[in-house]
């Protein structure tokens, strides 16, 4: 059983989804639908399986639907149709309480914009998920302290987020997600806002942590280098459709179409980072 299964997921933004869904079933592309109905389509018939313990990268340019897709996994966004299974359970059937439990115990998330609370200290932010769950304050702070230590921020626990650099803030974000002690971590362009040096440091740190933790990590990026470096498998999205899914070497040696080919070529021209 896969950790996360996505089956034929469509996402149409706005209320009038029925006629648009009909168009999409007739193989209309995102651009055609937009031209004919004025409706923005996020995802078109996306199906994929994410296995336990892997780092699964979802890659694509902006507007390709990658951030939309990842928000379906914890239902921050609801699909227009399709199924999403986490540990074999259809999370779209979950009621409010089950959804809360899913977000508290099974899936945590790291955001591109960090999403830290400015009025709370680094330590309180790192403990946010635990405090939300109702863990006793002292226990929560103790656990958060350990995770801050592991991401190298032990000395900063009493600072506030606006006193930290971008890289440090994202470490807090990572500590918060790790402290939540969930099997699955979603990372939405988590390192994209950081400068290149810090970014590769963070990638290394993530890989080092993962080698001991074996979480299921869904990592969103628009950067092929990043995808190749950290991904066990990579899914490439274009205009809301899945164009290729494979291991890094599959992508490099057998690009599925011109779109993927261009990504790979562009990379080949650049000096290799790692």
């Amino acid at each position: 059983m896969s950790k996360i299964e996505v089956r034929h997921v469509y996402k149409v933004f706005g209320r009038e989804s029925q006629p648009v869904m009909a168009l999409l079933q007739q193989q209309c592309s995102k651009a055609e639908v937009l031209a004919r109905t004025g409706v923005n389509v996020g995802l078109i018939d996306v199906s994929l399986n994410i296995e336990a313990g892997e780092i699964f990268v979802i890659m694509g340019l902006s507007g390709s639907g990658k951030s939309t897709l990842v928000r379906h996994f914890n239902r921050l966004i609801e699909p227009s149709s399709g199924q999403i299974l986490v540990d074999g359970e259809d999370i779209l059937r979950y009621d409010e309480a089950q959804l809360l439990a899913l977000r508290r115990n099974k899936i945590s998330m790291v955001f591109q914009g960090f999403g830290l609370l400015p009025h709370q200290t680094v330590l309180e932010n790192a403990a946010y998920a635990l405090l939300t769950k109702g863990v006793a304050r002292n226990d929560a702070l103790d656990q958060a302290r350990q995770w801050l230590d592991r991401v190298g921020l032990a000395a900063y626990e009493d600072k506030y987020p606006d006193e930290l650099s971008g890289g440090m803030r994202q470490r807090v974000g990572l500590a918060r997600a790790l402290a939540a002690d969930t099997d699955i971590i979603l990372m939405d362009e988590a390192f994209s806002a950081l400068d290149p040096l810090i970014r590769s440091e963070m990638q290394e740190q993530l890989l080092a942590l993962q080698s001991g933790l074996h979480k299921t990590i869904v990592f969103i990026t628009h950067d092929l280098d990043e995808a190749l470096r950290i991904g066990n498998r990579i899914a490439i999205l274009r205009d809301g459709q899945l164009v290729q899914l494979g291991t890094p070497s599959d992508i490099l040696t057998r690009p599925a179409d011109d779109y993927v080919q261009r990504f790979v070529e562009k990379r080949a021209v650049q000096p290799l980072a790692g």
């Binding site: 914890n74 921050l76 959804l99 809360l100 439990a101 899913l102 977000r103 508290r104 115990n105 899936i107 945590s108 998330m109 955001f111 914009g113 960090f114 999403g115 830290l116 609370l117 400015p118 009025h119 946010y128 998920a129 939300t132 769950k133 506030y160 918060r176 939540a180 979603l186």
Partner: protein, 295 residues
């Protein structure tokens, strides 16, 4: 000349409605008056009047210094209040203060929850915005009369009139403050399984605090502007002297009481603003100032 205006008036129906209200619910409103007076206003006023002025000045000094951390501001505020005492207006100052405190407390009790509800419901917003506009622009005397008929003369109708006048900015600024909270932050909080209440008390209200405090500050200022009108319907306090000054062409007396109201306004404004500021911002400013001195 041909008249294009249809002739009608709804004055009679309003009159009928008000007298019906007074007839049917007059007792209820008078009971409300009595309760408000005996449980809140009178004890507070008595307590304030019974306190030695020196103690009141010390309390104000403590509050002011705790809020602003500046000796000069504290000295100015206390000096201003002392001056009011010198003018022989201390007791009236305390009466006005009691009225302000009760009116502001009730305004907050109504305004903040209303603002929260408004930020959550677009429909309620459509409904409330015009009502708030009317509350703010309707001349005070128009609703003072029905309020008087319902509550009788005295402090309670003054408080209700003050609430009507002072409520809109607080509701608006609470609503605005909550709506302005960064959507990315709300999403991040929700992704960790935050309930609506946790979101409200843990994220939205703390981040909206500066805006809400600005609303409370505005409400207090507007309430102070009602002091003179409140005196016209029989509440005691500084407004009394202004009114007497106007009635007897005693400009000096009116001016003194007016000055006292202004000083009270400044004192309350500074203290409430000081508490509205972000505590951490204040700390950094203080550290910078210290660093500047030592450098």
């Amino acid at each position: 000349m041909p008249d294009i205006f249809l002739q009608f008036s709804f004055a009679d129906s309003i009159n009928q409605f008000v007298s019906w209200l007074v007839r049917e619910y007059g007792d209820l409103f008078h009971q409300l008056t009595a309760v408000l007076l005996s449980t809140l206003l009178v004890p507070l006023e008595r307590a304030l009047l019974a306190l030695p002025p020196l103690l009141v000045l010390l309390i104000v000094a403590g509050l002011c210094y705790h809020g602003t951390r500046r000796k000069s501001v504290t000295a100015l505020m206390v000096g201003g209040l002392y001056l009011i005492g010198c003018l022989g207006l201390w007791d009236k100052l305390m009466q006005t203060l009691a009225l302000m405190v009760v009116a502001t407390l009730l305004t907050m009790l109504i305004g903040v929850p209303l603002g929260i509800m408004m930020s959550r419901s677009q429909r309620l917003r459509w409904l409330l915005v015009p009502v708030l506009d009317v509350m703010q622009t309707l001349p005070t005397f128009v609703y003072l009369i029905p309020v008087l008929m319902l509550f009788g003369l005295g402090k309670v109708p003054a408080i209700f009139a003050t609430i009507i006048y002072a409520l809109p900015p607080l509701v608006r600024l609470t609503d605005l403050g909550i709506r302005q909270v960064d959507g990315d932050l709300l999403e991040a909080a929700r992704s960790f399984g935050t309930t609506r209440w946790q979101l409200l008390f843990g994220v939205q209200l703390p981040l909206a605090r500066p805006s809400i405090m600005a609303g409370i500050n505005q409400s207090i200022m507007m309430a102070l502007a009602m002091v003179v009108i409140a005196s016209m319907i029989g509440s005691r306090g500084l407004g009394e002297d202004v009114l007497a000054g106007i009635n007897n062409m005693d400009m000096g007396k009116g001016m003194q009481a007016g000055l006292a109201i202004v000083i009270l306004a400044i004192v309350i404004d500074r203290i409430s603003q000081a508490y509205g500021q972000d505590g951490r911002l204040k700390r950094t400013v203080r550290q910078k100032r210290k660093a500047g001195v030592s450098a």
